[in-house]
């Protein structure tokens, strides 16, 4: 007698739901936003959070979403913003990253001095890293 194929439903783990992961990432971002640049605490914190996510991503502890088998020709569109960004970043870097020719990070530095903006940027960075870990 032929058996019907099993239906495997992946049950998301409690900590893997947005209602858990978003507040955790927000809390980590708020804490990270309190450390000023060039401080030992900022270095240790970014190394710790990034290192933990790096390790999680390389381990097989995290369920990952399936990756596309191949990318269509439409993927080439992503080169447009990438090349524009690279041209300006490389150009300003080659010119010494001055006030007249600032690199992206030089433009971002005054914005990131504000703790709220720093925490928001931290949240974006951590969320994107979490997204990469899940891929």
């Amino acid at each position: 007698m032929e058996q019907s194929p099993e239906i495997i439903a992946e049950v998301p783990r409690p900590w893997d739901r947005p209602i858990v992961s978003v507040p955790v990432l927000a809390l980590l971002a708020i804490i990270g936003g309190q450390f000023p640049s060039f401080s030992m605490s900022a270095n240790l914190y970014v190394m710790g959070t990034g290192g933990a996510l790096f390790w999680l991503g390389l381990s097989n502890r995290m369920p990952k979403r399936p990756a596309p088998y191949r990318l269509g020709s439409g993927a080439a569109w992503w080169f447009v913003p990438l090349v524009i960004f690279w041209v300006f970043e490389a150009g300003t870097f080659a010119l010494g990253s001055t006030d007249d020719f600032p690199t992206f990070s030089r433009l971002a530095d005054p914005v990131l001095e504000d703790r709220l903006m720093r925490s928001l940027a931290y949240f974006a960075w951590l969320s994107a890293f979490w997204g990469l870990v899940r891929r």
């Binding site: 450390f35 270095n43 996510l53 979403r65 992503w78 020719f101 990070s105 931290y122």
Partner: protein
Amino acid sequence: MSVSRFIVICGFTVALALAAVIEWASRREGSRIPSLGDVCAYVMQYEVGRVPVGRLGMYGFWWWVGWHFFAR
């Protein structure tokens, strides 16, 4: 603000705005453009032997971005 600074800011803004538009276009029904997440996932599949070079590179780059903006 100098003209060169203005042009540089416009350049970065255009690049980021274009990325946002492409991401939006990728999420439309029947779009042939993959999302940025799909592109990253595709790149991260790349392996040399048993070494996940794509994943190591992507995580390493993103880790460096965080360090560059928040710590250095």
